[in-house]
């Protein structure tokens, strides 16, 4: 017998189908233990606090907030019902803060590991390129949900502390109970999280293009800003329905009675399209890439 044949054969154990979840748990834990992730969540949690305090101070003398119709949606209703702070905070963070946070986490996902060199050790473990990419995308999507919930929960707490709670009036003018309002707030948070799926896929694709986490984050956030500007230029109305942020604020339609679904469905469809296109591009790139970092 040669020596090699007496050595144990460690690959005898068949991988458990649940292994992917073990990798996902490790990935989630690693992402959430980065100070950068925690700092982003901290900033997101601070936005509703600032908005709440500002509204409270401004309306301390009995005047109404945002009297001129300026500012994010629902701002005027906050003083009547603290629950509206949830909607206001989501409307305030969705155009920039939330996608920026997602862009940072998504952009860092592959490129950051490549830059630190840890990517090569994950791949020789072997994590498998497709599985690692799927795990990374699942983690970024989990972060989308978490980031949105952080904003919503922070807003709910601040709203409850600073303003009265109770029945609310929908945009259509009907009144719904506080419990139903809470349900709609949760639904809105989930729709907002789903609105970020497109930018998450875009960031992940950018992340497979470079070995520098910083470059990938900057590129993703830069693209986000560019697209947001393009979405504001009236002459470009022909392409605007295909820009990922175009229907973002449609989540307000969930506060109509009955709910107006058209733009909501268009938004979710557009996000799915972006996820499919950039997800495939990221897969094609990452599975064929030479890992030289």
């Amino acid at each position: 017998m040669s020596r090699a044949e007496t050595a144990p054969a460690p690959a005898d154990r068949r991988p458990s189908p649940l292994w992917t979840f073990g990798l996902l748990r490790s990935e989630l834990g690693t992402t959430l233990r980065r100070w950068r992730t925690l700092a982003l969540l901290g900033v997101l949690a601070a936005v509703p606090v600032l908005v709440g305090i500002a509204v409270r101070i401004e309306t301390g003398d009995g005047s109404t907030a945002g009297g001129g119709g300026e500012g994010p949606a629902f701002l005027a209703q906050i003083t009547n019902n603290g629950l509206f702070l949830v909607f206001t905070a989501l409307a305030a963070t969705l155009p920039f803060f939330l996608p920026m946070a997602v862009g940072v986490v998504a952009g860092d996902a592959i490129a950051g590991e490549a830059g630190a060199g840890t990517l090569r050790y994950l791949l020789v473990a072997p994590a498998g390129r497709t599985r690692l990419l799927l795990t990374k995308y699942a983690t970024v999507m989990a972060f989308c949900v978490l980031a949105t919930l952080v904003v919503a929960v922070s807003a709910l707490i601040v709203g409850a502390l600073l303003f009265p709670l109770g029945e609310l009036t929908t945009i259509s003018g009907t009144r719904i109970s506080f419990t139903e309002g809470l349900g709609r707030a949760l639904l809105i948070a989930l729709v907002v999280a789903a609105s970020l799926v497109g930018v998450a896929a875009l960031g992940l694709f950018v992340s497979t293009l470079t070995n520098s986490g910083i470059a990938a984050m900057a590129t993703t956030v830069g693209l986000l800003i560019t697209v947001q500007i393009l979405d504001q230029i009236p002459q470009l109305h022909a392409i605007q329905p295909y820009l990922f942020p175009h229907y973002w604020l449609s989540f307000a339609d969930l506060m109509r009675d009955p709910v107006y679904w058209d733009d909501l469905v268009r938004n979710l469809g557009l996000q799915a399209l972006y996820a499919a296109v950039f997800g495939s591009a990221a897969w094609a790139r990452f599975t064929a890439k030479d890992i030289s970092a």
């Binding site: 690693t30 630190a116 994950l122 473990a125 994590a127 599985r131 890992i291």
Partner: protein, 328 residues
């Protein structure tokens, strides 16, 4: 079962040898996008059970070769088989049996040493999660990091990072260990420990593929070696044979160097050089006893006369025509 000796296996080039060997490449070539040829038609054979030294100056293509063997880089041409299976196609079945340290350790600075290993182990689909903590603790103990396991990896010294990288390669029993410069950044005591560890693993039957720029390290621990220069394989074989390939030097120690040099030339010794009281030259074909007699007859006072065995370094310089400078 009749097993051919490692020497026969190393020399063998047929498909049987490919199956027997732990690493076998045929015409393995990598040309980078810029057109630079990093590895050029490599035919490497690493016999099972060997401690294989992979030598070459910086930039000679060692790391590119290792990356191709580990499925990180797609070869431009040629094939690579690791543990008898083609890479990178069979990566999922091959790599769990391979521990690797590639171009230094890479760690998550914000995680403790233990958490780093837990993460790498979680990335291995065949690793049993139930034994994960035990195996991580054992690997940390084995490289002497047991006491520093809870410390953030950011605070580790270079030597400790290197040890943690080794621990990641030792998380499970492996059939092949690929160690790229494993003693980098370690103090002499650490180097000795790693060499002892490599010998121990080899004694357990693990094949060790070791790249190093330290020739004496290769000479001390390796049974086989290959030398690369400018992307090409210059030679491979058993270390003893490689060193023997370079001829030794005849060394005469004498207070009369000028006279000794003259006599040695007369006796057919080539390339005679005198350096202080040391006169050296290529050993002649004739009996050294006659050379000694001639020296004494000429009145040369001889303090010592020996043939110094060639070191691997001599062999290396003879083969590549250069020292360990960066290839241009």
């Amino acid at each position: 079962m009749d097993v051919p000796s490692t020497a026969e296996r190393a020399a063998g080039r047929g498909p049987d040898a490919d199956r027997e060997s732990v690493i076998a490449t045929r015409g393995l070539t990598k040309r980078y996008r810029g057109g630079q040829l990093a590895v050029d038609g490599l035919d490497l054979t690493v016999p099972a059970g060997s401690v294989f030294g992979f030598l070459g100056p910086n930039g000679s293509g060692k790391t590119t070769t290792i990356r191709m063997l580990m499925g990180l880089i797609e070869p431009t041409a040629g094939t690579a088989r690791v543990l008898g299976r083609p890479m990178p196609r069979a990566a999922r079945t091959v790599l769990p049996q391979v521990g690797a340290l590639i171009e230094g350790p890479a760690l998550y600075g914000f995680l403790s040493g233990r958490d780093n290993l837990l993460r790498y182990d979680a990335a291995d689909p065949t690793a049993d999660p139930r034994t994960r903590r035990t195996r991580v603790a054992a690997a940390l103990e084995r490289v002497g990091l047991g006491a520093a396991a809870g410390k953030k990896a950011r605070a580790y010294s270079l030597g400790m990072k290197q040890r943690l990288g080794l621990a990641a390669a030792l998380l499970r029993p492996r059939r092949l260990l690929v160690l790229d410069e494993p003693t980098n950044g370690l103090d002499p005591q650490g180097m000795r420990e790693i060499r002892a560890l490599v010998r121990e693993l080899a004694a357990d039957g693990t094949t060790v593929f070791l790249s190093s720029h330290l020739l004496d390290e290769i000479e001390q621990v390796c049974t086989h070696a290959a030398v690369m220069a400018q992307g090409r394989l210059v030679t491979q074989g058993e270390v003893a044979e490689l060193a023997a390939g370079a001829r030794g030097r005849l060394v005469v120690t004498t207070p009369d160097p000028a006279e000794a040099a003259r006599v040695l030339k007369e006796q057919g010794v080539g390339d005679v050089t005198a350096d202080g009281e040391r006169v050296t030259g290529e050993p002649p074909a004739r009996d050294l006893a006659e050379v000694t007699a001639a020296l004494v007859a000429a009145g040369v006072r001889v303090r010592g006369l020996t043939v110094e065995r060639a070191s691997l370094e001599d062999a290396f310089v003879a083969l590549t025509g250069e020292g360990f400078d960066v290839a241009g």
